[in-house]
């Protein structure tokens, strides 16, 4: 605790001094306790902004979060980042103790898993693009199920003819699979460098002469999912 207190002077940025003085922000250990309490109490991830809005003025939840992350690193519960939120979750290595808490979840069909994977790795992606990748139509039921599970949501429209709506994964998806962001999807980098995340399909009917991976990489940059543009 004491070292946290020592750090407090460094933590405060120069511009914040006035405000901090005005509002008498809580001490750093106290702020850590506050963030801890808020995160423990919530089953859903809490954003930094929400922490800020609930804590006394002048609080700096960000540094409290990094202290807490460190503190819980080796404990039975950990502080994890989920999208733009933070949550406390039990350590995955203790899952064997948790049989009792496990809730029976419905089994996803292969179509649903594939569709989910395509949305996660290709997002934002249109229904047509999903169908092109799977080589088969996507049933409404599959999309509805994923929407209902709050794993996918509608993204913005594509700037292509017809302005089709896109799908993206949700914060809840990240939370469910323990991902900090969609960039942390397993094997994403490899897939990308192998050119397998291209959203355009070489046209089968009048295919262009030089379809190869280099071209595929260069093609259609405007449609590149923003998440994966590096």
């Amino acid at each position: 605790m004491s070292d946290q207190t020592d750090k407090s002077s460094n933590k405060r940025k120069v511009g914040e001094v006035d405000q901090a003085n005005l509002f008498e922000a809580p001490s750093v250990p106290e702020q850590i306790r506050m963030v801890e309490a808020i995160l423990f109490a919530s089953s859903a991830p809490v954003t930094v902004n929400e922490l800020k809005s609930r804590m006394p003025q002048g609080s700096d939840p960000e540094s409290a979060l990094s202290e807490l992350k460190l503190h819980y690193r080796t404990r039975g519960v950990n502080l994890v980042k989920v999208g733009d939120g933070w949550a406390i979750r039990t350590s995955a290595d203790l899952s064997f103790l948790m049989r009792k808490e496990t809730v029976e979840t419905r089994k996803l069909s292969r179509a649903a898993v594939e569709t989910l994977a395509i949305i996660a790795y290709h997002q934002p992606v249109t229904r047509l693009e999903i169908e092109e990748i799977r080589g088969v139509g996507v049933s409404k039921g599959t999309v509805d199920l994923l929407l209902e599970m709050d794993w996918i949501k509608f993204g913005r429209r594509k700037m292509t003819p017809g302005r089709p709506i896109t799908f993206v994964v949700t914060q809840h998806f990240l939370d469910h699979f323990g991902l900090e962001s969609a960039k942390d999807l397993p094997g994403l980098r490899e897939l990308k460098s192998a050119g397998l995340l291209e959203s355009t399909i070489p046209n089968m009917k009048d295919s262009v002469a030089d379809i190869n991976k280099e071209d595929a990489d260069l093609s259609d940059n405007t449609d590149q999912p923003e998440l994966f543009v590096e």
């Binding site: 423990f40 109490a41 919530s42 089953s43 859903a44 949550a87 406390i88 979750r89 039990t90 350590s91 995955a92 899952s95 948790m98 808490e101 496990t102 809730v103 979840t105 089994k107 996803l108 069909s109 292969r110 179509a111 649903a112 898993v113 594939e114 989910l116 994977a117 395509i118 996660a120 790795y121 990748i133 799977r134 080589g135 088969v136 139509g137 939370d175 469910h176 699979f177 323990g178 991902l179 999807l185 397993p186 094997g187 897939l191 192998a194 397998l196 291209e198 399909i201 070489p202 089968m204 009048d206 295919s207 262009v208 002469a209 379809i211 190869n212 991976k213 595929a216």
Partner: protein, 264 residues
């Protein structure tokens, strides 16, 4: 732990298809479209997807379609589209390249198909990897007793003095347009006054105080006096206008007097 997929989808080997077309007993319904079937067929070649013989794959697929036709199995349109495309691909692969033809070569078509198969396989693997991850509510857990966030909504009502005044003004103006129903008791209507005046004027040729025309029961309470006075005065004006009455007042605030006008 993390190697075990948590959400089962049909395991890949449910789709084992014997290499020879004779043994090809496929529940087409079990396939997720022609691309999925091609992917399954490609696995029978027991080689890396990158080294697969597209030509051989195309043949397998076309054999299947032919067999299905023979068995009068109805195939969905996209299976037939794929068959047509594969037949085209095969012909391209077999025929020597015609330099005047700027269409895609058989190799190019093969590359396209290989790419699509590879990509579908990649997505399938990604889905497995995703499902194999530790999942919330399975391997890791959120707080079992989440505390209810007491949502306290403070509503600040805004109201300026102007709003208040406008509100009051609105009521007062509205009164003038509202059907007048209130307090019949203390209302002396012009109609009543007119009727009364006409009767009284019948035998009056002298100047008389307007106030003397007020009914007795309207002469006590100030409020009733005011109502009756106003109505009687208004009725008098009507009568003046009609030419049946003359009106006079000697000075400001003096008595108002009236008399019947001679009709001649």
């Amino acid at each position: 732990m993390s190697d075990t997929p948590n959400l089962e989808f049909f395991p890949e080997n449910d789709y084992i298809v014997e290499n020879s077309p004779e043994n090809l007993v496929i529940n087409v319904d079990g396939f997720e479209g022609p691309l999925d079937m091609l992917l399954t067929l490609s696995r029978t070649q027991k080689v890396d997807l990158l080294k697969i013989s597209i030509s051989q794959l195309a043949s397998q697929y076309l054999d299947f379609v032919a067999k299905a036709k023979e068995l009068r199995i109805e195939l969905a349109a996209d299976y037939l589209v794929m068959a047509a495309w594969l037949a085209f691909l095969k012909s391209r692969l077999l025929l020597p390249k015609d330099p005047s033809d700027d269409g895609p070569t058989g190799e190019e078509l093969s590359a396209i198909l290989a790419f699509r198969l590879e990509r579908l396989q990649a997505m399938r693997n990604a889905g497995s990897k995703l499902m194999a991850r530790n999942q919330l509510g399975k391997e890791f857990f959120s707080r079992g007793i989440p505390e209810n966030l007491e949502k306290k909504r403070t509503i600040n009502y805004t109201l300026s003095l102007l709003d208040l005044m406008q509100g009051y003004a609105r009521i007062r103006t509205r009164d003038d347009f509202r059907p007048f129903t209130a307090d019949r008791e203390n209302v002396f209507t012009i109609e009543t006054a007119l009727e009364r005046m006409r009767k009284m004027l019948g035998f009056s040729g002298e100047w008389n105080d307007l106030m003397s025309f007020l009914p007795e029961e309207w002469q006590n309470e100030p409020k009733r006096v005011r109502a009756a006075t106003a109505a009687t005065f208004a009725a008098t004006l009507e009568l003046v206008k009609a030419g049946s009455v003359e009106l006079r007042q000697s000075e400001t605030f003096a008595k108002i007097e009236l008399r019947k006008r001679n009709s001649e």
